[in-house]
Structures are given as structure tokens and as C-alpha cells.
């Protein structure tokens, strides 16, 4: 009995230790990404930027404060938001292949952005119309899904997933219509938007996204235990005291906020929402009080590293970050899947 208790607390502290390790790795990744780039800064200048700004060339100061730092932070926030939304949606649907895209938010956001490009409006409102259109598009899609699911109350998740598939297909064909009728210029802009990029990062976007991430964190954290209980099935979770409909609404709301905001600023970036939560589960176990923070940290690190590749590998040219997320995350994920573990089947 005591041996089992000891084993249990050792196992728990191991999982917590790994989470803290991830938490310690994130600043290192951020620091590295801030130091490396097409314009060489290096660790000494990085220190001087804070300690003795006068010793740093003006161009380096401008690059760091106006371009690189907001970009690194935006990548971290977008990665964190996508991964957090993914963790919530996978937990809700009890489906490891679930992706936030399932509730239509990504397709809706893409449609909003494409409409913007179609009419040549992407520069309006000082460039803020494009993210706004993407965000509103994502929300409208989720709203439509909610209306057809009686406010996400009836029918259970199986019906919701099916409705999501149908909605995605419909949005996809509307999207295809716009792509088909678009002018050549607009078409090219649309294509590159859908590949995803953090190149447009500016401080106001970082602040806005930080606020959305905070709301998402609150909504998901307060439902972390309910998400655990949902793994027994929705009916059993209800017997355990989970207000299933409320939890479902809050998680979909959070996912729509997170993915909508992330997509608005960085375009559609795949893979992270699907894989970062899995990585977190493989490293930390299945309890959402560990999975949610783990997914945030892993998602942030993944996208910061992918973006680092996007801006340095072909420098001075840019690569599409959407191409690199899978290249960087894929091997890591496969290695984790191979690793024998005490709990995975």
C-alpha cells in the first residue's frame, strides 16, 4: 500500500517535473529565436539591448524591437492558441484526430480573408480589416454550426462532428468559388495567406492576441476537470456532476476565440492544433490540468521554431511557416510515438 502510494506520487512528480522542464525550455527557445535571424544580433547584443542600448547600432535596435521581438512573441502566442484550442476540442470530442478546424472556424476565417482579398480590401482600416474579416468569418461559421445544433445542446458530439464536416464542405465550395473567380493578383494573395505567416507581426497584434489567449486559458482551465470526466463518455460525465452542455459551449467558444484570433493574424497554420496536444499527452499523461499547459508550451515552442526556420532558412527570402510546422514537429512527434511509455497502449 505504501509502496503504491510512493509510486503514485513519484509518477505525479515526474509528470510535473516534465511540465516545469517545458516551462523552462520556452524562455530558452524564445531567447534563441530572438538572437538568431537574417540580421545578426547575438547574445551579447541581446543583453546590451536591455542593459546598455546605446552600445547597440540603431539598425539592430530597430530590427529587434520593431520586427523580431513582436514576431517571435506573435509566433509563440499563435502556436499556444492553436495548441490550446486543439487540446480542448480533442478532449471534448474524445477523438485524437479532432482538430479545431472541425467546428468550421478555420474555414470560416479563410473565407472571411478570401472575401477581403477578392474585393481588394486587405489594406483597409490600416490593414486591420483583413484580420477582422477572418475573425468574423470564423465566428459566423461557428454560429451557424451552433444554430443547427440547437445551441450545441442537443444531439451529442457525434452529430456535431457530422454537422462540422458538412459545414466545412460547404464553406470549402464557397471558398473555391471565390478562388475560381478571383483576379490573378487576389488569387496569389489568397494562396499565400492560406499558407500562413508571422511576418506581419506588430505590437498591437501581440497585445490583442495575448488578451484572446488569456480568455481562452480561463475558459479551458475552469473546465479542465470536466474534460477529464468527459473521457468516460458524456452521459457518465453528467452523472459525475458535469454540466455537459455548458462545458461543450464554453470549449467551443474558447476554441473559436483562440483559432479565430490566431488565424486572423497569421493565416491558416495546420498541424500544431492537432499534434501539440498529443505531444503533451505523450509527455505528461492525459489529465487536462497537465495537458492544457503542456500544449500551450509545446505549441508556442513549435511555432517559434518553425517561424525561425521560415525567416532564416532561405534568408533574405521568407518561407511559408505552414510548410515548416510539419517538418519540425513531425519527426519529434514520431519519436515520441516510438518511445515506450508506462501508460500508452
Amino acid at each position: 500500500m505504501n509502496a503504491e502510494r510512493e509510486n503514485d506520487s513519484r509518477r505525479r512528480s515526474r509528470a510535473h517535473g516534465r511540465l516545469w522542464l517545458l516551462a523552462a525550455l520556452l524562455p530558452l527557445v524564445l531567447l534563441t529565436a530572438s538572437a538568431v535571424g537574417a540580421v545578426n544580433i547575438g547574445l551579447v547584443d541581446l543583453w546590451n539591448l536591455v542593459a546598455a542600448p546605446a552600445q547597440v547600432p540603431e539598425i539592430v535596435r530597430a530590427v529587434f524591437w520593431e520586427i523580431r521581438l513582436p514576431r517571435v512573441l506573435l509566433a509563440a502566442l499563435v502556436g499556444a492558441a492553436l495548441a490550446l484550442a486543439g487540446a480542448g476540442v480533442q478532449g471534448l470530442f474524445r477523438n485524437p484526430l479532432a482538430d479545431p478546424a472541425l467546428i468550421g472556424v478555420s474555414a470560416g476565417a479563410a473565407l472571411g480573408a478570401v472575401v477581403c482579398f477578392f474585393f481588394g480590401w486587405e489594406g483597409l482600416l490600416g490593414g486591420w480589416l483583413l484580420p477582422l474579416a477572418a475573425f468574423v468569418g470564423g465566428w459566423l461559421a461557428v454560429l451557424v454550426l451552433g444554430i443547427f445544433n440547437a445551441g450545441f445542446a442537443a444531439g451529442g458530439t457525434a452529430k456535431l462532428i457530422l454537422a462540422g464536416v458538412a459545414l466545412n464542405a460547404m464553406l470549402g465550395s464557397v471558398l473555391g468559388f471565390f478562388l475560381f473567380s478571383a483576379s490573378d493578383d487576389a488569387l496569389r494573395s489568397m494562396t499565400f495567406w492560406t499558407l500562413g505567416s508571422c511576418a506581419s507581426a506588430q505590437w498591437p497584434q501581440v497585445v490583442v492576441l495575448l488578451i484572446f489567449l488569456a480568455i481562452g486559458v480561463i475558459l479551458l482551465w475552469r473546465n479542465a476537470r470536466s474534460l477529464d470526466a468527459l473521457q468516460f463518455g458524456e452521459e457518465q460525465a453528467a452523472h459525475l456532476g458535469v454540466s455537459v452542455v455548458r462545458v461543450r459551449r464554453e470549449i467551443i467558444l474558447a476554441a473559436a476565440l483562440l483559432v479565430g484570433a490566431a488565424t486572423a493574424f497569421a493565416g491558416t497554420i495546420g498541424f500544431i492544433g492537432l499534434v501539440a496536444p498529443h505531444m503533451a499527452r505523450l509527455l505528461l499523461g492525459g489529465l487536462h490540468r497537465l495537458v492544457l499547459p503542456g500544449a500551450i508550451l509545446l505549441g508556442a515552442m513549435l511555432l517559434v521554431l518553425a517561424d525561425l526556420g521560415a525567416r532564416t532558412l532561405a534568408a533574405p527570402a521568407e518561407l511559408a511557416v505552414g510548410i515548416l510546422t510539419a517538418v519540425i514537429g513531425g519527426p519529434f512527434f514520431l519519436a515520441l510515438l516510438r518511445r515506450p511509455s508506462s501508460w500508452s497502449t
Binding site: 537574417a38 530597430a62 520586427i67 483576379s183 533574405p316
Partner: protein, 276 residues
């Protein structure tokens, strides 16, 4: 022919221009061609992918696709002037470059031959090469005059033309209205038979039921001989252009770029369109 807006732009750029730029980054084929035409090719330190076709810029660092630029990549080339055509982006990236204290000049792009002079004037002002600019404009204007003379003969009965563009994957698309190709076909004295749609559209045999081109214009980069080309497009063989194998090959960077080489390329097409 100077428009007030152009004069204003020229004045503003002239006022703000410092010493002649020593390190220039360009994006957009026409912009790069003009900068090169002003004798500033040695000062160009990096260009976008679409500008790599020139001999002078072939070996310069590549800042990538014109719509997907990165601020830091461009700044790492330590430019004192960034000259981009108006499709360059994303817009926040240009803002970021400006915020680093680098002069960014956006050269507006329009599907009109008159626009070429405006571009040259704006670039000449931005680079402090006004005299060279006027020389280039004189040359371009002469080419435009030659084009007008060449097309004058076609007035009245313009030959029907279909312009084929090769997209990635080798798919051929036909140019409708609101495209550079449409503007250039018309400017070369042809009549675009695909005026019923906008943009570039995939080809179907039905297009040629109503549109009967006398000529086919296609990029010289499209592989295969004329017969092979016709075989790839269903229905094209039955048109007058297909029966007679009347295919005109163009350097699309020159023909569609609305740069200094465009009027001459159009004159060649106009001459070809007069052949029976």
C-alpha cells in the same frame, strides 16, 4: 503628359531624397528593369524572385516572392532604399522596414502603357537620377510611337487573339479581362476573344465554340512545339488559329511587365498579328 498626382509624387520624393542611394533592394520585375535601365544595376543589392530574369540581377540575393516579403531579410541587406511595385507585401512588412528608418518607395502598377513613364519618373526621382530617367522615357516613348504605327494598320478589323498562360503544374489558362495580358493584347492591336470572363480561367473546349481566335499568344517558356501545344488544349485545333498553326511566342516578363521593354515586345506582337 504629367498627371498632377505624379508631379506631386515626384516633388515629394525629390524633396525627401537624400544623397544618391548606394544600396537598393528592388521587388517587381518592371521596377528592377527600370532601376537597371537608369544605370543603377551595380547599386542593387537584392531583388525579388520575379526580377531574377535580368542578366544584371541573376546573381543577386533573392528576397523571395514579391507578395511574401520579410522585413528582416530585406534589412539584412542593409539597404538605404527599398523600391517595390504596388503588389509587394504584406503591407505590415513594408511598415516594419520603414520603422527601421529605411526609405521605402512604392511604385504604382497599372495595366497601361502610359503608366511606364510614371514609373520611370517616380523611380528616377527616388534615386536622384532624373536626367537618366528622362532619357529612358524618351526611349520608351519612341517605342510606344513605333507600336502605335505598327497597330494603326490593324484598326478596323482586329484579329482575334487568345492568350495562354502556363500555371504551375503545366495547366494552361486563358486570359480574360482585367489581366495584364488582356491590356497588352489590345495594345498590340489584337482583340481578346476571351472577354466574356475576368482573370485567368482554365480552358475548356466550350470556350472555343464562341471565341474563334486567329492567333494564339503564349509564353516562350511553355515547352513543346506548336503542334504539341495545340494538342494540350481541347477545341483549339478547330479554330482558325489552330488550323493555320498561328502561334506567337513572347517573353512574358517583357510583354506583360509594363516595364521599359514592354512597348518593343508589343511592337513585335503587333507585327506578327499583321501576317496573314
Amino acid at each position: 503628359m504629367l498627371r498632377p498626382a505624379t508631379i506631386l509624387a515626384v516633388l515629394l520624393t525629390a524633396l525627401t531624397a537624400r544623397a544618391e542611394p548606394a544600396r537598393i533592394v528592388t521587388a517587381g520585375a518592371a521596377v528592377t528593369e527600370i532601376v537597371s535601365g537608369l544605370g543603377l544595376a551595380p547599386q542593387i543589392v537584392a531583388v525579388d524572385t520575379s526580377s531574377k530574369h535580368l542578366e544584371e540581377t541573376r546573381d543577386k540575393p533573392d528576397i523571395g516572392y514579391v507578395r511574401m516579403l520579410g522585413a528582416e531579410g530585406i534589412l539584412s541587406q542593409k539597404p538605404d532604399l527599398v523600391l517595390v511595385s504596388s503588389e509587394a507585401g504584406p503591407p505590415p512588412v513594408l511598415e516594419q522596414i520603414k520603422s527601421a528608418g529605411v526609405n521605402v518607395v512604392v511604385i504604382s502598377n497599372g495595366y497601361s502603357l502610359d503608366n511606364i513613364d510614371d514609373k520611370i519618373r517616380a523611380i528616377a526621382a527616388a534615386t536622384g537620377r532624373v536626367e537618366d530617367g528622362e532619357k529612358l522615357i524618351t526611349r520608351v516613348d519612341a517605342d510606344v510611337q513605333a507600336l502605335r504605327a505598327a497597330t494603326a494598320a490593324n484598326e478596323g478589323e482586329r484579329p482575334g487573339v487568345v492568350f495562354l498562360l502556363a500555371r504551375h503544374g503545366g495547366n494552361l489558362m486563358a486570359a480574360g479581362t482585367e489581366t495584364a495580358a488582356h491590356a497588352m493584347v489590345e495594345a498590340s492591336g489584337g482583340r481578346n476573344v476571351c472577354a466574356s470572363f475576368t482573370g485567368y480561367q482554365p480552358l475548356s473546349a466550350e470556350i472555343f465554340a464562341t471565341a474563334t481566335p486567329d492567333f494564339i499568344i503564349v509564353s516562350e517558356s511553355v515547352g513543346g512545339d506548336d503542334a504539341q501545344l495545340l494538342a494540350r488544349v481541347p477545341g483549339l485545333g478547330a479554330t482558325p488559329a489552330g488550323r493555320e498553326l498561328r502561334v506567337i511566342r513572347v517573353d512574358d516578363a517583357a510583354f506583360l511587365g509594363f516595364g521599359p521593354r514592354t512597348p518593343a515586345a508589343a511592337t513585335q506582337v503587333a507585327t506578327a498579328l499583321r501576317q496573314p
